[in-house]
C-alpha cells in the first residue's frame, strides 16, 4: 500500500515537471512530436532508476559513513555524467535496436535536472532503497505522462492561428500552464 501511495504521489500529486519544475528543458525541447517525447521518456525512466540506485548506495555506504555529505553535489553529478556515458556505450554493444531508439536522447540527459533532483530528493526524504526505486520509477512515469500529453497538445498547437507575439515558446508555456492547472486538481490526493 505504501508503495502505491509513493507511486501515485510521484505521478500525479507532485508531478516532477508540472508541480516541481524539474526537467523543464527536455519538456520544452523534445515535445514537438509524440514519438520523440516517448523516446525521451523511455531514456529518462532507464537512467533515472539506475542513477537513483547507484547514488543512493554511494551516499549511504560511502559518503554518510565517512561523514562526507558535503561532497554530495559533486559526486552525484560526476556519477550521473559517467553513468550516462556508460549506458550509451553498453547499449550500443548489447542492444543496437534500443540504442537506435534512445541513443540521441542520452547525452541530453546529463543536464536534465530531474535526474539529479530525484537522486537528492530520495536522500532528503530518507527513503530506503526499495522506496527510492519505487519513487524514481513513479517520478519518471509522471515525467512521461506530462511530456507525452504536452507533445500531443503541441502537435495541435502548430495548426492553430496564434497571435504573432505569442507564437512558439510563449504559446507552449501557456498550454503548460493550463496543463499544470489540471494537475493542480490532484493536490491533496495522497501525502507522503
Amino acid at each position: 500500500m505504501e508503495y502505491l501511495y509513493i507511486i501515485i504521489a510521484a505521478i500525479f500529486v507532485n508531478n516532477i515537471v508540472l508541480m516541481q519544475f524539474l526537467g523543464i528543458c527536455p519538456f520544452l525541447g523534445v515535445s514537438n512530436k509524440v514519438s520523440t517525447a516517448a523516446g525521451m521518456s523511455g531514456a529518462v525512466l532507464f537512467v533515472m532508476t539506475l542513477a537513483t540506485i547507484i547514488t543512493w548506495l554511494i551516499y549511504t555506504q560511502v559518503l554518510a559513513v565517512f561523514e562526507l555529505e558535503y561532497l554530495q553535489t559533486i559526486t552525484y553529478i560526476l556519477v550521473i555524467a559517467s553513468l550516462v556515458q556508460m549506458v550509451e556505450i553498453i547499449l550500443k554493444k548489447v542492444s543496437p535496436a534500443l540504442y537506435q531508439a534512445l541513443g540521441i536522447f542520452l547525452p541530453l540527459i546529463t543536464t536534465n535536472c530531474a535526474i539529479l533532483g530525484v537522486a537528492i530528493l530520495v536522500i532528503q526524504k530518507k527513503f530506503d532503497l526499495l522506496q527510492s526505486v519505487v519513487f524514481s520509477v513513479g517520478t519518471s512515469l509522471g515525467f512521461a505522462l506530462a511530456l507525452i500529453i504536452f507533445a500531443g497538445l503541441r502537435e495541435h498547437l502548430d495548426l492553430i492561428n496564434v497571435p504573432k507575439g505569442m507564437k512558439g515558446v510563449p504559446a507552449a508555456l501557456l498550454v503548460a500552464g493550463i496543463l499544470a492547472l489540471a494537475f493542480q486538481g490532484f493536490a491533496g490526493l495522497v501525502k507522503i
Binding site: 523543464i24 553535489t73 560526476l78
Partner: protein, 193 residues
C-alpha cells in the same frame, strides 16, 4: 568585442531566460516571490562569475576530450560553496530555495557560458561575461518573482500593497508558466523594435 558590450549583452540582447530560454527550471521553480528570485539569481551569478573565471584560467591545461566533465567539477565546487555559505548565513532563503541550490550545477546557463565563452576568451572578459549573464539572469528572475508576488499576494518584496487576497494561482505552479509566457511574449515584442 569590448567589455562593456560583453557586459550588456547578457542583460537584454542575449538574456538567458527571455531570449536564450536557458535555465528555466529554477526560473519557474523559485520565483514565488521577488526576494526568492533575487536570492537565486545572485547565487547563480556568483557561480557563473567564479566558474567562468576559473575555466578561462585553466582552459589550456584541460585536454579537449574531458573538458565537459572538468567544467562540471569546477562548477560543482562553487555550487557546494554557495550551498554551505547560504545554509550558514541566509538560512531562511536557503530553506525556501531548497533543492534548487544544488541544482545550479545542471543549470544550462552556467555550463553553456563556460563552454561557449570562457573556454575561448581571456580571463577578464570571461569574468565580465559571467557577471553580465548572471545579472541578466537575476533581473529576469526578480522580474518574474515580482510579477507573481504582485498578482498572487498583492505584495512586492514582502511589502503588502493592498490588503486583499491575491490571485493565489500565480503563486502556485500554473501561474509560473502563465506569467513567464506573457513576459517572454512582451520581451519578444520589445526586442523586435
Amino acid at each position: 568585442m569590448s567589455n562593456v558590450k560583453t557586459f550588456t549583452n547578457g542583460f537584454i540582447k542575449e538574456n538567458p531566460v527571455f531570449i536564450l530560454l536557458l535555465g528555466l527550471c529554477p526560473t519557474l521553480g523559485v520565483t514565488t516571490s521577488a526576494i526568492n528570485g533575487l536570492g537565486m539569481g545572485l547565487a547563480t551569478t556568483f557561480v557563473l562569475f567564479m566558474a567562468n573565471m576559473v575555466v578561462s584560467m585553466v582552459k589550456k591545461g584541460i585536454p579537449d576530450k574531458v573538458r565537459i566533465p572538468a567544467y562540471i567539477v569546477i562548477i560543482a565546487s562553487f555550487v557546494t560553496i554557495v550551498d554551505l555559505a547560504m545554509a550558514a548565513y541566509a538560512f531562511d532563503l536557503h530553506r525556501s530555495l531548497g533543492l534548487f541550490i544544488p541544482l545550479i550545477v545542471v543549470n544550462c546557463v552556467v555550463l553553456g557560458r563556460a563552454e561557449a565563452f570562457a573556454s575561448k576568451n581571456n580571463v577578464v572578459s570571461s569574468m565580465v561575461d559571467g557577471l553580465g549573464m548572471g545579472l541578466g539572469f537575476t533581473f529576469a528572475l526578480t522580474l518574474l518573482g515580482a510579477v507573481r508576488e504582485l498578482l498572487g499576494s498583492n505584495a512586492i518584496f514582502n511589502i503588502k500593497l493592498v490588503e486583499a487576497d491575491g490571485m493565489i494561482v500565480f503563486v502556485l505552479a500554473p501561474g509560473a508558466f502563465i506569467a513567464l509566457a506573457y513576459l517572454i511574449a512582451l520581451m519578444n515584442k520589445l526586442s523586435k523594435k
